[in-house]
Structure formats: structure tokens, C-alpha cells
Subunit: 320 residues, 2 copies
């Protein structure tokens, strides 16, 4: 039987991923309500807003107000997402966010073109300047993210070899810039991964870069999210992005239907039941999931929020 | 990397599992419509009806009419479920069903009490008589099913050791009765399994009974269905029960929320993408899933029916 990790870290992306895809504007106070509730579940990293053009992502319009209005919890990193200098400057100006200057790239030309209006080569060429800017502002840089790392709705399959090649280029940028590249997020942005491709691609990256700390960012678009996370666990991956209630989806990914991230509380349930520590309170997360569903006003895909936790059921059975 | 099977067989249970849990009566013609559509997807086994008391399961009231009205496809086994002699006799009397006389047991006293109003010991004691009755009628017997094999909402966890013990007792009944016990269905009736408990319990059964052909019957109550199927694939399990669109749930299992079987087309998608043959037409299954959703009149949990097949997307990308 595969050796599963003793503990993992889950980084919550529900508020950012979840609200950005909603068409109706969600009131600022309600966004803050969910963020404040998530801060009390044991999560150490919560990505809460996108500093992007509100003409493209209407629910990002109040990002600054959301950050100003939330109640922070000690020891929790609250983060934001940006795609350009202006967004980065807005994030820094809030003075309440943990700013991490990742080197971000996509494995799909077609996707990065739609998402950021440039090619892989153009994005790669821009990374040294980003890095110098981060260094000049004393922003921490410790790695990066590769989007569409398992396939792209606009381009098709992405091979493990292509991923290894692009990761090598990101590592080179970091090395040439004199900063560490310790952490790599492999993002299945459009839900193309299966447990087998997770194992192949993660395995290929681990073989070539054995010291890299891999993060999996998984979408449940085609129902593979939890199975893919399990495959990651079997490969020893110890960090996962997830979204409470399975909120989310990328507004530029061209999905129809359910497109959210792997569901935080379903992932925590699997880990709890398999003896893998997450440091998170499953019942508190289920309450957050119910709150998220109430806020967006439509059913969300999380399963444990409907099926119920087994811990609670066991306690009830023991008391009876 | 684990050695996955080259091919698997999926047994469809959507019509039986899916309709029995609906409160509103579904017109006979619509039940038949779904069964007829499923018959054209490549499925070789479709469980279509329950011959049970319609006062307890109102949608089972028209079981005989459904069987009489469907259009059978050559080479497809249509089956029904029964819990007592009367149900068995009704199934035989249709003359259109494949009758397989399984030796069925539950790993939970509390569950079998609610479901069939008897204890494990009473059920076990009744098996030799069932077997003799099947033999007297020349009904094929080749194994059995153990329900609640991974846990029970009314009793709690079920250990691999208990499963191995009960399987041994079922094997003994078969041996004493002079019939083969070749096939064992392990049913996660109430969605308690995780990939780890699948591996533990399947592994323990395989160690003790290496020649048994294991079937996994998985429910997605807590979002683990596909991950559990993947764990089964890694253990070499080659047969899975599933339900189109994730239809279903046991009316006596005490679920709230989503309770359906692992979703047929999501499982087929995973297998297709990992190079495991199912013999099934994913696009035809997605059409059946959409039909099922229309028939029950509420959203069903299947993901690929919403996220779309990658085969179609690849064809579109190649044509562009």
C-alpha cells in the first residue's frame, strides 16, 4: 500500500475562486462574512480576492474594500491574486495581505492568450523583470505556478515532458535572478487531469526536481478532483489548493456547468478518515460551505456538506 | 506506478437505484425510455427494477409493467432486485430478466434490521434454504453481495476483519450447498469508504480468497465515489456497479442530501482517459444522464454530463 503523508496543508481559495465566477454582484459584507468564518476553521492560507479588471470580473470590483473590511486572525495568511503591475500595486497598498511574488506561467499558449493576452514565450520573457520588481520591493519569492499543466480546453493535452521543460525554465529564471524556487503549483485549471496523469506529471517533475515542494491546484470540472487529490497523496504531495463547498472556476476557462475547485471539506473528510492531519475543523468548514451556498444563492457541488461528517455520526452512535 | 487493469466491466444500476429513491411516482413509460436508451450504450448488465413492497418503495409498484414494456437488446442482461420469495417469484415470472441467485448478507445488524427486519445471524441462517430454492429452480448461483461492507449509518465502522469473516461464512454456505462462490460484491451502501479503506478491505479479502472476483458497489454520499473506484482499480478490481448521472441511493440508508451511486459516465470518463477499456460509449451515456435528469426533474450529481467529454473537445480542437 502506498505511503500516504502524515499531514497536509490546504490553502483555501473559495472566496477568490468562488465569487469571481458569479454573474450577480455579491455584496461586500457577505464576501467578508465568508472570509471571517473561514478564518476560524484552522486554515493558515486563504486567498480572498483578485485585483483584476472589474470589466472582465465584476465581482473583483470591491477587492480593496473586502480586504479593508475583513477581520484577520493571528497566524493566518490572507492573499490576493493579480495578473499585472497595477494589480500587484493594489495588493501591496492594502497593507493587510501576505504578498508572495510567484513566477507564474501557463503550459498552454491558447489559454494564456485568452487569460493574459500574451504567449508562453512572452510570459516567460517577462518573468525576469517581474522578479527584479519583486526583489526591489523586498517581496518574498519562493516559487511559481504553472497553469493548464494537465490540459487545456483551447489547446488539448499537455504532456509531462512539456511541464518538466517549462518548470525547468521557471527554475532557470529564479536561479539567474538569485532567488530560490522551492515551491511549484501545478494547476489543473480546466479539469483535464486524471489520477494517472497526476501520477505521471507529478512523478516526472519529482524525478527532475526532487527538492521541489509541489502544490496541486485541482478543479473538479469532470468529477476527478478528489480522486486526483488522492493520487497526489499517493505521490507524497503535501499541499493542495481547495475551495469550500467546491466554489469557483476560472472565468476565462470556457467551462459550462460545474467547474469549481476540489472541495475543501470533502478533501478534509478524506484526510480525516485516512488518518492524515490537516489541522482543520471539518464541522466549521461544513458551516462555511452552507454559508457559501446561501451567499451565492444556488446549490454548490460539495458532497460532505450534504452527506454529513462521519465523526459526528460516530459520536451520535456512541452516545446512543 | 500501480498496474491498472486493461479493461473493466460496469454494471448499470441507475434505473433501479435512481427511481426507487424518488418520492414522486415516475410514469412507467419514462422509466422504460431510460432503460431503452441505456441498452444502446454498450452496457451488458442493467439492473432495472426492485420487486419490493410498493408501500415502502412507491416507485417499485410498476416493476412488472416496466419489465414487460422495455425493448431488450441482444447480449444485454437485464436484472431485478428482490429481498424475499415473493419478489423472487415476480422476477422469475417476468421471463425477461436474467435471474442470478446471489447469497446476500449485510455486515451491519442495524442496517439489515431496518432493511429486511432480521439480524445478520438470521439472514445467514436463511441462506442455505435460499440456495436450495435457487437450485430447485435451476437458477444460476455464482456468489453474493455484502452490504454495509465499509460502515453503517446506524452502527458505525465495519472492519476488514469482520468483512473477511462474513465472506468466509458466505463461501461456506456455497460450499456446503455444492455451488460455486466466484463473485463477491462489496457494497459501500452508505458512503463510508475512503480509498484507504477500499484498499484495506479489498486487500484483506483478496489475501484470504485470492480467486474471488470482486465487484465494488460504491455510493458517492460523501464525495469519495470516483476516488474509491480508482483505489479499486489500483487493487486490480475489474467490476463496478454504477448509476448514470449518479442516480440513486437506498431508501433505508438514512441519508440526507446526495446519496447516489458512483456516476457511470464519470467512471467511464476516468477509464477512457487512463486507457482502461469499458466497452461503453461515453457520449451516449451523457445523453442518458441528461435524459435521467429530465425524468426525475431535479439536478443530478454527475460531473462529466456538465463538464463535457474530452474526446469531443479534442475532436473539435483537431478540426479547428
Amino acid at each position: 500500500m502506498a505511503d500516504l503523508p502524515k499531514s497536509i496543508e490546504i490553502r483555501e481559495e473559495g472566496p477568490r475562486e468562488g465569487f469571481q465566477i458569479e454573474k450577480e454582484f455579491i455584496p461586500t459584507a457577505r464576501k467578508i462574512e465568508l472570509i471571517n468564518a473561514l478564518g476560524k476553521t484552522g486554515l493558515k492560507h486563504i486567498q480572498i480576492v483578485s485585483f483584476v479588471d472589474p470589466r472582465r470580473v465584476p465581482n473583483a470590483a470591491d477587492a480593496d474594500e473586502v480586504v479593508a473590511g475583513m477581520t484577520t486572525q493571528p497566524g493566518v495568511h490572507y492573499t490576493g491574486l493579480w495578473l499585472n503591475d497595477k494589480g500587484f500595486e493594489r495588493a501591496v497598498a492594502t497593507k493587510r495581505l501576505h504578498i508572495n511574488g510567484g513566477l507564474n506561467l501557463s503550459a498552454s499558449d491558447a489559454f494564456i492568450k485568452r487569460n493574459q493576452n500574451r504567449s508562453i514565450a512572452e510570459q516567460l520573457a517577462s518573468l525576469p523583470a517581474s522578479l527584479e520588481k519583486y526583489k526591489a520591493q523586498n517581496v518574498e519569492i519562493d516559487g511559481g505556478l504553472l497553469s493548464a499543466a494537465f490540459g487545456c480546453n483551447y489547446e488539448g493535452d499537455v504532456s509531462a515532458a512539456k511541464v518538466v521543460d517549462l518548470v525547468g525554465k521557471m527554475v532557470d529564471v529564479a536561479r539567474n535572478g538569485g532567488v530560490p524556487f522551492k515551491r511549484l503549483t501545478l494547476a489543473d485549471t480546466m479539469g483535464w487531469a486524471t489520477p494517472l496523469s497526476i501520477k505521471r506529471t507529478v512523478g516526472a517533475v519529482q524525478d527532475k526536481f526532487p527538492d521541489l515542494d509541489i502544490v496541486l491546484h485541482l478543479h473538479d470540472t469532470r468529477g476527478m478532483g478528489i480522486a486526483n487529490a488522492y493520487a497526489g497523496l499517493e505521490m507524497g504531495v503535501r499541499r493542495y489548493d481547495a475551495a469550500v463547498a467546491g466554489l469557483g472556476g476560472c472565468p476565462f476557462a470556457g467551462h459550462k456547468g460545474a467547474a469549481g475547485n476540489v472541495c475543501t471539506e470533502d478533501l478534509v473528510f478524506m484526510c480525516d478518515e485516512m488518518g492524515i492531519e490537516t489541522g482543520l475543523d471539518l464541522n466549521a468548514l461544513i458551516e462555511c460551505a452552507n454559508l457559501a451556498e446561501e451567499i451565492v444563492g444556488h446549490p454548490l457541488p460539495g458532497a460532505v456538506m450534504k452527506g454529513g461528517s462521519l465523526k459526528l455520526l460516530r459520536e451520535k452512535l456512541q452516545a446512543a
